[in-house]
């Protein structure tokens, strides 16, 4: 099983504005870091040639979409929080508004399957409506890839 992760960021200003220029300049190195990270499988790209092109979608111009697939929860976690990506994340308030509702969701997919953005959005809605479950979860309440494991994996790991 592979792990799909979708997260949304609410841009403070249009992506081509001066306010976002520093962020846009970071897209290339940070995306390169993700692509080379252990356990990285796939991410949604708008362009194969322009690394600064952000994903175009129908969910509102202010929403920045990050959508990727990873071999494990640990590999994604290590990329997000245990790489230079953490420093970019620390600066998020310079570029993004605070989100009052859940803005990231993860779920397990069969290896080789590439989920659609519509599926990702549906998983996020599911998380908002039902709370975390094996179908849609967060780091704080994460679930193992094995169907049998219905207990949050995080609680076990923390013991």
């Amino acid at each position: 099983m592979h792990l799909a992760e979708l997260n949304l960021a609410h841009l403070r200003a249009p992506i081509d504005s001066a306010e976002l220029a520093e962020f846009v300049a970071l897209l290339e190195p940070i995306n390169a870091l993700a692509d080379a990270a252990p356990g990285f499988v796939w991410r949604m790209k708008e362009s194969e040639t322009d690394p600064t092109a952000t994903v175009v979608h129908d969910y509102g111009d202010h929403l920045l979409v990050n959508f990727s697939v990873w071999e494990s929860l640990e590999s994604l976690w290590n990329y997000v929080y245990r790489s230079p990506h953490l420093e970019v994340l620390r600066r998020r308030r310079e570029w993004f508004l605070r989100m009052a509702e859940p803005y990231m969701v993860m779920w397990w997919i069969p290896e080789g399957h590439i989920p659609s953005l519509a599926e990702g959005m549906a998983r996020l809605e599911h998380l908002k409506a039902e709370g975390p479950s094996p179908a849609a979860f967060t780091y704080k309440d994460s679930y193992d890839s094995s169907e049998a494991a219905n207990l949050p994996a995080a609680a076990e790991a923390r013991k």
């Binding site: 290590n78 997000v80 929080y81 245990r82 790489s83 230079p84 953490l86 420093e87 994340l89 620390r90 605070r98 704080k140 995080a154 790991a157 923390r158 013991k159």
Partner: protein
């Protein structure tokens, strides 16, 4: 606190076991029986006996490192030890600050008060540094559980003293930890900019650059 935790920690009261445990922890990864024995100044047989006791108690984990030479005559894979990932806490009388800290971290996030939290951490670090003014930062960090070591001209920190919370709220806790370390440097009379984030798996996310005097 569980009886298991107390029993496990009591094992470390033996000086040989204690130095073997420290040798494995300081290795930062897989440490062979021979290396641990040498560091502790005991025979390989005695080291093996005590290392296995530490594994039994869950303080260390063991595994096998394949021999570099392949094929017949290369011998069995070498048994190696590393520090167990779980942590042991003993508090008498029992206290549970982690649960409270976790709730408070959740409150900071809910309020969007991360910047305030970092400021407070910087102040707390400064006060600690002030109490140790003139002492080398490496020693102050070691006393606070960071396990500093040198690598590539940097002072890296092998252990995250806030691991449980950093797992749960990495962004908040790592940012506060950085602020704490920067405050500590200032309090010690040093340059706070020596501390920056350079996270990698399995360690504290803060590194310190070396000063010119070092």
């Amino acid at each position: 606190m569980s009886t298991d935790d107390l029993d496990a920690l009591a094992l470390l009261n033996d000086p040989v076991r204690r130095s073997l445990y420290e040798a494995v922890a300081a290795g930062g990864g897989d440490v062979g029986r021979g290396e641990a024995a040498e560091a502790a100044g005991v025979s390989r047989t005695l080291a093996g006996h005590h290392l296995d006791k530490l594994v039994e108690a869950g303080l260390l984990e063991s595994g096998f490192r394949p021999q570099e030479k392949k094929g017949p005559g290369s011998g069995r894979p070498a048994k190696v030890y590393r520090r167990a990932r779980g942590e042991r806490t003993v508090s008498l009388p029992p206290r549970d600050y982690v649960t409270l800290a976790s709730v408070l971290a959740g409150v900071v996030e809910t309020l969007g008060a991360e910047e305030r939290a970092e400021e407070m951490a910087r102040g707390a670090g400064e006060r600690v540094g002030g109490r140790h003014a003139g002492e080398p930062v490496e020693r102050v960090l070691r006393e606070r559980g960071y396990e500093p070591y040198e690598e590539g001209g940097l002072l890296r920190l092998r252990n995250c003293p806030f691991h449980v919370l950093a797992d749960e709220q990495p962004l908040l806790v790592c940012s506060m930890n950085l602020a704490l370390c920067q405050g500590l440097l200032r309090g010690l009379g040093g340059d706070p900019a020596r501390a920056r984030l350079d996270p990698r798996p399995g360690e504290c996310c803060v590194v310190l650059s070396k000063t010119n005097e070092d």
